[in-house]
Symmetry: C2
Subunit: 351 residues, 2 copies
């Protein structure tokens, strides 16, 4: 292909072609829809007999969406893929392909780019998706990442945000707030380290919250679970922002109200413990934190028997008519109106 | 949809939802493949009975790929779309959809974003493509743009870089070097203006080269022309970098050599004139300048009768076996080996 030689210590962009070749060599093909991937002006696919689900173009900017002081590049590559595929799962679809472009300054070494793509490749294997594009351009400063994902579904399987109906059960996968608390921990240790570089960061015992922040996983088995149980959610949305914002987004799209119960919001014991240490209410971390990459969805009440006792998601409340508002019932019985958090973008808690 | 109000003088990201709603309202749907576009976690499409051609994720960074001192945002929106669709035309395919995300600092006004999207919408109309995503996130400084395009083609219509064969004619659409010279003109006037803001820029008489730099057009009718003439190129590549680099890329992919003739390289009279003013050889501008967004392709010699006397492209040389090298025959008969230009990315000539 290219005559350019690859040297891991040379900078971008002069080693660009050799680097893309290196990334291409490590790229596996998992899906028959991908006909031709990296190495031309565009890739070629065939999506016969399925609807195609296309994500937005997503942008992640250094200093805004991630901090390289404490984010290993391999984890960052993995996290970008997780963030991107979650938007496809949120349509009740199966992700198939991802295209990832980087804009990096000349000070970045090629080996760093390959570390990033190692994470991308690991995530592609986990989510069984094909990397179909890997462009690299120059930036004046820092790293910016763009991602785009394709997915498939049968037409009648696709779930939008807009279908929630009164009496539907409101459900959420996994647990919430851990990613936000993991970030607070990393920020605290960074501050301590900056004022005294001899102090080693104290991260022991917090492996779970750190993993939720640095290398989150998307609930990839949910779509299959629904198929097996013959259940179709009436609406679904990804939880890239805090729970409160996303509930409000879903309710706005569906033109409904809702009631959720504080005690039913799933929070891990490690997150509870760390929240106490930080004097943060863990429920506030769940409502406003963000970056959970879980799924929020609604199920008809009549399907309750089919989905009870599952270990993938929790029922946190139910949908009401619009006039009832969007409320959270606290443990002491007081009712509070849900408000969107100020953080209204993914990866955005850094600084 | 969102309850957030739109106010053109507020900054991003707090007005984000209102702004995306505003962009959505201005978005037309041109293609039946687009089932559902902006307003959920992902868009939905149906590409039954066609192959699908997917671009790379493309990134354009302020200060590297564009300079807002002299680039109107509306033109920038148009140019990003032109750059992106050219990669689909280069596969002999028809672009169908584009997704564009922006990462902007808080100092950017919403009205500026809408100006950018006005250019995007104008380009979508021109290229008959649907805008299917318009995400906006925050950056620490400056604007970064990510774009992703989808296109369609019948399987046997798709053209790769890798099919060129000895004796094929090497052809290029439009004319070359004007965009690069337009950029030199803008940079010169910027330098003059910076040292003396009372001097008005002298741009009269250079409308063509400026348009080629600021609001370039992609040769969108070429695919239809090939169909009408029953000609299929054996290879094709987009000219985002200089002609020399892209010829070498095409020859590398096809494992062939080539010979081109200096006198056949299409250069506009305005570009010739401006090159003289700058003491630049216009052929060097064509070979190394970049950002032409034209198409370079090869046609079997046996199809010469079908394509002669067309006004869309020029025959600049022919393909040789690999051992003959990649050469340019100068007007005085000397033969020079083609070398890739140092600029190896799109939009990259600024600074």
């Amino acid at each position: 292909m290219s005559e350019e030689l690859y040297n891991e210590n040379t900078s971008i962009p002069f080693g660009k072609s050799g680097l893309i070749q290196k990334i291409k060599e490590k790229t596996s093909k998992y899906n028959s829809q991908t006909v031709f991937s990296i190495g031309d002006d565009a890739s070629v696919s065939n999506f016969k007999d399925t609807e195609m689900v296309l994500s937005k173009s997503l942008i992640f900017a250094e200093g805004i969406h991630f901090d390289l002081t404490y984010t290993p590049l391999k984890h960052l590559g993995y996290k970008v893929v997780t963030a991107a595929v979650t938007s496809i799962y949120a349509m009740n679809a199966k992700p198939i392909q991802i295209s990832i472009a980087l804009s990096v300054s000349n000070s970045i070494m090629q080996k760093h780019i390959l570390e990033f793509y190692d994470g991308v490749h690991a995530a592609c294997k986990n989510y069984v998706i094909d990397l179909i594009g890997g462009d690299i351009t120059t930036s004046k400063k820092g790293i910016t990442i763009a991602a785009f994902v394709t997915g498939i579904a049968q037409k009648d399987e696709i779930v939008f945000r807009s279908g929630a109906l009164p009496t539907d059960l409101l459900c959420v996968t996994g647990d919430l707030g851990a990613s936000y608390l993991g970030l607070q921990l990393l920020e605290r240790e960074k501050t301590i380290f900056n004022s005294n570089p001899n102090v080693q960061p104290e991260l022991k015992g917090y492996e779970y919250v750190l993993r939720r922040q640095l290398k989150p996983e998307s609930p990839k088995d949910l779509t299959d679970y629904f198929k097996k149980k013959a259940v179709k959610p009436t609406s679904m949305i990804s939880l890239s922002n805090g729970l409160a914002s996303e509930i409000i987004n879903l309710c706005n799209s569906s033109n409904v109200g809702c009631e959720i119960f504080q005690e039913r919001i799933p929070i891990s014991s490690e997150a509870e413990k760390l929240a106490k240490e930080f004097n943060i209410d863990p429920v506030i971390a769940a409502l406003n934190g963000g970056e959970d990459y879980e799924l929020l969805f609604t199920i008809p009440l009549s399907d309750y028997e089919k989905i009870k006792n599952n270990d993938m998601f929790s029922i946190i409340g139910s949908i009401n008519t619009l006039d009832k508002g969007r409320n959270i019932v606290m443990q002491d019985g007081t009712i509070i109106t849900l408000e969107p958090s100020l953080n209204n973008q993914t990866f955005q808690n850094v600084q």
